[in-house]
Amino acid sequence: MRRIWLLLFTIGLPLFLIAPALMKLPRSSPNLTAPSVEALPQSGVSNPVTAVLLNYRGYDTLLEVGVLLLVVIAVWSLQESRWRELDASEQRPLLMPFLRLIMPVLVLVSGYLLWIGSSRPGGAFQGGAMIGGAMVMLISAGLSRRFSTSERRVRAGLVVGLTVFMVASVTTLLWSGHILCYRQNSASSWILAIEVAAQISIGVTLGALFLGGRPRTLSPERPKLEVNRD
């Protein structure tokens, strides 16, 4: 009986409210396609979505990169990472050769997606997602020791996106009085610089999220912690 009430109030009532609202949406309302496409030659890129993300609404992307860093701080302050590091003898036989094959390809594809994002579908987020996928594979193959030994580089990678974005914001604020208002002939260079830094940051952030906690500090006397699988 209780289940019926739950179904009614969480499915029936919202649906009753949402469906008429959706049906009442006008078929073709005035939208921002024409203005954003018209201003494309001045924006420094020729993909409208990239132009919106990094030029017209660059402030939102700045805040998003900030949110990424904030979430990593939150996740890392909760607990330590519980991923086990595997020796060469414990590795699965097919995984390491596959990783050796696929890592350069992933780096190449992510760079390609970044570069082509200025004219075709792609961009910093998609490339960053590829690097995040590479990090996920490395961590789940038991190679997360890299996160602990090169922790300084990992932290630098986490921070570089927001830093470059803030530098760009402050510089454009001082130059032209508005945040992220690039000059026309330097717009594409600014966007490329911000995208490269943001891609590195996004990839390392996704890897840090998958790590699930701060990297364990290595010490030789400490026994390896096992992931509890009950």
Binding site: T10, P14, I18, L32, T33, A34, V37, V49, L78, F125
Partner: protein, 102 residues
């Protein structure tokens, strides 16, 4: 895209949102509730992109696309944080139940 197909996607987005909403309240396991939150987000994104596809020009409206891209990344981060919290809750309640057994 025909008009009927766009209405179909709009209503599908609304239904996804509602299913996700049910999934936040009804299940017992925390993991399933997190999945429900994600499904709610996917429903909202579907509504956005369906509205963006309703333009008269062949090019869809890029502003909702950018908003959904930002939304996807932020929702993944939120899911990561939620799962880290669930892992912490799990390890704390497991230590508690071990202490009680001793």
């Amino acid at each position: 895209m025909t008009e009927i197909a766009l209405i179909l996607y709009l209503l599908a987005g609304g239904l996804l949102f509602v299913i996700g909403f049910y999934g936040v309240w009804a299940p017992q396991e925390l993991l399933r509730r997190i999945l429900g939150l994600n499904i709610m987000g996917s429903g909202v994104f579907l509504v956005f992109i369906a509205i963006a596809a309703q333009t008269r020009d062949p090019i869809p409206d890029p502003v909702p696309h950018a908003m959904v891209l930002t939304g996807i990344v932020v929702s993944v981060c939120g899911t990561g944080l939620a799962l880290a919290l669930v892992a912490r809750i799990y390890s704390m309640t497991r230590d508690e139940s071990e202490e009680r057994q001793q």
